[in-house]
Structure formats: structure tokens, C-alpha cells
Subunit: 357 residues, 2 copies
């Protein structure tokens, strides 16, 4: 067996394994130095956690975490640390996060600060986690002041991606991941974009071959970008395409009635409007992106106050104080980071994103 | 002005500045990209914090933290994060820790997990912090299960060391740092050991020239070791000389009635006994080390239960499960990491350390 690809980082590298059925081979793939702790939710424990545990020759402890953004807090991380220390975790412990982004981020964060960092393996079970959050080493929790304000970088020892896990994913969560995949296509892989553009119906019905290719291609885009820029100093920011306005929409909606992926979809439409106004994106390509997004959007936007979205965009943590940063597409498969976006452009983009409301 | 030395690490390097009076030049030395936040205690604020703040052209916010190991918790770090976010800290913020190890570790940990890590500057004001904890990037807090169980590595942008700050340090805290300095001499600088051995009385009276040289030499030892081994994979463990038994003594004493440095002093005597028994350390050198330690030890050990010390040593987090790790001196200025210390040797070392009780 050989991994699908290898992600490089300052301290070394890690393999991303990708295949159907891999979940049951986790114990054969990773090499724990000491005790193994599987962190998952009560629901996912039945579905995946027990199977991952059974794949280890030695006993692997399973620790349950309640899912949900509201539980993605420092308090949850602390209770996890207390459980891990209580069960005798040493420096050679291995934490295996089995679940979506919330589980991966929270368990990963706990692993990053336990005894100055213990081994972490990501076993993402949602599309969003498989194509996005499990790769790149970002870990963290929310704070009352905003999402992901507390955290760091803790590169996993391995990422084990099993597309079979997606079969039981609720449709809306699947869709959320699909928007991140679509974003990846516009950012750096026109063939990926075209796979989604050409037959969205087959994808939404989870055609295995098509899902596998989308997952594979999106992982490649993300792995390439984070290998070149581990700490988001420069190139990595390109992955924020659709996120400036997308995050602002999520914040203004108090994260209710809209998934992260959907928000990114609307944010991409907003970014494209700014790119069009600057004349850097051709109308035909903007149209193709927008049509694909609208085909995927299952519902409209929740009711939003335009001025609240604008205010939230102003406070985006990517902003370098006075200047506004946005990622704008030049073409399908090619984006650029623009640091001089004006207030008027931002408002114009938000209007385009909210046009349907 | 040029820094005293530069510490290398995987992500770059940072300067250590060392001179009397530097505290008032902090603002001229560091280059903040955004807002500056000085973290210090209410007492140290009057003595040093306000001076550091005044050295900046722009306004630097001062945030107070109650000192003491009991406050070195995740809860304190969280309240610090809330203060920082509440005062508008962005990714370009700079956290300046002004104080001893507790302040440096806690503020450093908060800086390491705020927005995935913001700039950190260490301004150590105790001897222990100047010669040890401010260098090397270790940050963290305690957990009910033990000290420093939560944390990570977050390399500072700069370390600013002003020996003038030591003038107001209580004698027992000064002594605590002196033991760490002595440890550094045995680990890697025989001339440093001899400075302390030759005229401990002058040192204890804080003869400026002697203090400066001891600080300078101990920083050099530590900087060299951590530059070669940032993450404590190998060589860095050499700095744990005296710590296996020292930590066990601290734990058994519930950290009461004994300073960290004193405990390390007794731990060095214990390690030397094991080295003597193995025949790797000559009697004459063991005698010189022990005499110097005993000259410095201001009081005896608090009453301790030998079996508790032994139990605590067994659970040392440096232990790699079955095997016991200890650092043993071969000579003054030369130590080695030994991974096969037996239970009997450990007990023998503890008996030697506790002989005076």
C-alpha cells in the first residue's frame, strides 16, 4: 500500500491515504508509539469509531465528544485533556479524530496542547472534512468573540480518507463539502470545476466514481497549496476565495439556517462580482461559476441585514487593519490575492451575493 | 546595538538581548507590526511593566495577571485571551511577557493559541526566567494532574534580558535561579560551574560583574542546546539534569516549602549518586558539585515521604513508559542521557538526595 499523496511542512511531512474501505485498516496504516485514543461523537462511534478501534491490535480507548459548533470551545478541549490525562496519556500517545471538522479541529487542538503536542491522525468522515479541514494542520476552537479565534497549527501524522464514510452523510452536509470542492476548482484546478459543472445531478446522487474524483482532486489542490505555504503567510490565503463575504454572511446569520459551504458559495458569487467590476474575470467564466453555484444551492439565503454583513466583513480576521484583503478569480482555475479592496467594492460584492434574498 | 546571541529554530531565529538597563529600551528593540500588549503582575507592573510600556512610541496596553503557580491554568489563559480579543488584538498583535516563569509561560501560551499564534517577546525579570524559561520557546500551563501538562512550543520574536531587574528579587528566588545556572555549568560549561563554585558569597550578594557573567554563560549553554534540538527529541533532554528526582521532590512536597531551583539542587545530588554508582563520574568531581550545592542550599529539605518521591519519579512525564530516563554527569561540563535507569538506581539516587532530611 502506498499513500495517495504526501504533504510537506516545516517539521517534516505526512501521508494522505485515500480509498474506499480504509477506515477498517487504520490500525494497519498508522504506527502508534504508545496508547491510542479515538475521539468521536456518540453517533459516529457506532458508525465509524468502533470500526477504527477494532482495526488496532492493541486496545484503543474511545472518548466521546458532543458534536456541534456550540461545543467547539476551550472548555470542551479542557475536558478532553482531563479525560486523556486521566486515562494515562503519555507523550507517545496517539489521538485519532474520527468525524467532521468540529471533531477534527477540537480533538486536534487538544492533541496540540497535550504534553506540548502528541501524535494526531485525522480520519475525516464528512465531505467538508475530507476535502478541506483534515489537511493543512489547522486546529482550534471557537471563542465568544468569534469562530476559530483560539488554536494553532498541529500537523497530523497521517490523514485517512475513506469516501465510503460519506454514504451516510446528510445531503445538506454533503452539499456543504461540495461547495468547498467547487471553490478548489476555481482556485486551482479547472478540471475539478468541470467535473462538478458537467454533472451535478450525478454528484448529488453520490455517484461513487465521480465523488472519488472530486475528493481526490480537491485534496490535491489543498495539499499543494498548504505544502507551499504552511502558515498562511502568502499563497495559502488563496484558499479563502469566497470566504471574506461567506464568513460575513455566516456571522450575520449567527451561523443559523446556512451551512459553511453554502455561505462560501454565496461568497464566491460576491467575489466574482468584484472581479468582474475590476475587469479581471471574463463574463463567460463568471457566468459558468455562478450557474454551477446556483444549481447546487438547495435553498435561498436566510433573511439577512445587508449592513450587518458589511460590518462583519469589515472585522474579518484576515484583514490587515486598514486594507481589505479578498481573493478574486482571474479565470476558472486561477485566483489572486488582492490587498487593496475598497469599501465600495466590498459593498458591491455583498450586494451581488445577497441579490436573491 | 547588536544582540548578545541568536537562537535558531525550525521556523527561523530570534535574538537574545542582554544588558543592564535594556528594559527601558524594549520599544526601540522590538518591531511590533500592530498593537502591543504587556502582560505582567500588579506588583511587577509598577516596577517594570510601566517602564516597558513607556519605551514604546505608540500606546502599549498593560494587562495584569495574578502571579503564582496556582493561577497558571487554562482558565487564566482563557481570561487573558478574552482580554486580548476584547481589546481588539489582531493577528499582528505583539504580546510582551514581563515577569518570571509563570508570567512568561502563561502569557506565552496565550500568545501561542491566540488567532493561531501572535508575536511574543519575553522580558524575564527573575534569574530563573532569565537563564532558563525565557529561552527555548516552551510555553504552557498546569493541569490538576500535574505541572506544565498543557502547552506547546511558541518561539519568541525576541528575549530582552536586563540583569538590573534582579536587584529587587527576593533572595530565595535569586537562589532558585542560581541552581539552574549551576546545573547549566555541569551540563555544558565548566567555567560557569567554576564561577559559582569559586565565590558563592559574592554571587549571593549579587556582585554585578559576577551575576552578569553567570547569566551570560547560562544563556549561552541553554541557547546552544535548544538551537540544536528545538523540540526536545534528543539533546535538549540534557537540560533535565537534576530534574527527574528534583521534580519528584517538588511533587511529593506539593510544591510547598521548596523552590524549583532548590529541588533541582537536591535532584543533582541524587543524579550524581547514580552516576557514581555506575562509575561514570569521578568522586572528586561529584564532591565539588555536591559541596557547591550544599553551600547554596539555604535550608534543608521539607519533611518528605521517600515512597512518595519514588512514586512521583516513576510517573515523570519524561519517562518513555517502561524505561526510566535520567541525565547523568560524566564530568563537570559533560552530561549524558541514560535511558536504562533501573528502579534500584532510582531509589538509590532518591536516598542520596534525601540523606539530609
Amino acid at each position: 500500500m502506498i499513500p495517495f499523496l504526501t504533504v510537506r511542512h516545516a517539521g517534516g511531512s505526512y501521508p494522505v491515504w485515500l480509498d474506499r474501505g480504509l477506515l477498517d485498516q487504520t490500525g494497519r496504516i498508522v504506527e502508534p508509539r504508545g496508547s491510542v485514543f479515538i475521539i468521536t461523537s456518540p453517533t459516529l462511534r457506532q458508525r465509524f469509531g468502533e470500526r477504527v478501534a477494532a482495526s488496532f491490535e492493541k486496545t484503543a480507548a474511545i472518548i466521546e465528544l458532543e458534536e456541534g459548533e456550540a461545543n467547539k470551545t476551550l472548555a470542551t478541549a479542557e475536558s478532553l485533556l482531563t479525560r486523556l490525562l486521566g486515562e494515562g496519556a503519555h507523550r507517545d500517545a496517539m489521538v485519532i479524530a474520527v468525524g467532521g471538522g468540529m471533531i477534527g479541529d477540537t480533538a486536534g487542538f487538544a492533541a496540540s496542547i497535550l504534553l506540548r503536542g502528541v501524535d494526531l491522525v485525522q480520519v475525516p468522515t464528512t465531505l467538508l472534512a475530507q476535502v478541506d479541514s483534515s489537511i493543512g494542520g489547522k486546529v482550534g476552537v471557537n471563542h465568544a468573540k468569534g469562530k476559530n479565534l483560539i488554536g494553532g497549527f498541529h500537523q497530523p501524522r497521517a490523514v485517512i480518507t475513506d469516501p465510503d464514510a460519506l454514504d451516510s452523510l446528510p445531503q445538506r452536509e454533503f452539499l456543504s463539502g461540495l461547495f468547498e470542492a467547487l471553490k478548489g476548482g476555481v482556485v486551482g484546478d479547472s478540471a475539478l470545476f468541470e467535473r462538478i459543472e458537467t454533472d451535478p445531478a450525478a454528484l448529488l446522487q453520490r455517484d461513487a466514481k465521480l465523488v472519488d474524483e472530486v475528493v481526490r482532486r480537491k485534496i490535491s489542490v489543498k495539499a499543494k497549496v498548504v505544502s507551499d505555504d504552511e502558515r498562511e503567510g502568502g499563497l495559502r490565503r488563496i484558499l479563502n476565495y469566497g470566504h471574506t463575504i461567506g464568513h460575513a454572511i455566516e456571522t450575520a446569520a449567527s451561523y443559523e439556517g446556512i451551512t459553511h459551504g453554502e455561505a462560501v458559495g454565496w461568497g464566491m458569487i460576491g467575489a466574482n462580482a468584484v472581479a468582474r467590476r475590476r475587469g479581471i474575470l471574463r463574463e463567460e467564466e463568471a457566468g459558468r461559476i455562478e450557474r454551477t453555484i446556483r444549481t447546487l444551492q438547495s435553498g435561498g439565503l436566510p433573511p439577512l441585514d445587508r449592513s450587518q454583513v458589511l460590518a462583519a466583513a469589515r472585522h474579518d480576521k484576515k484583514n490587515r487593519r486598514e486594507t481589505r484583503v479578498m481573493v478574486l478569480p482571474r479565470a476558472i482555475g486561477e485566483c489572486e490575492i488582492v490587498e487593496d479592496v475598497t469599501e465600495a467594492e466590498l459593498a458591491f460584492g455583498i450586494d451581488a451575493a445577497l441579490a436573491d434574498q
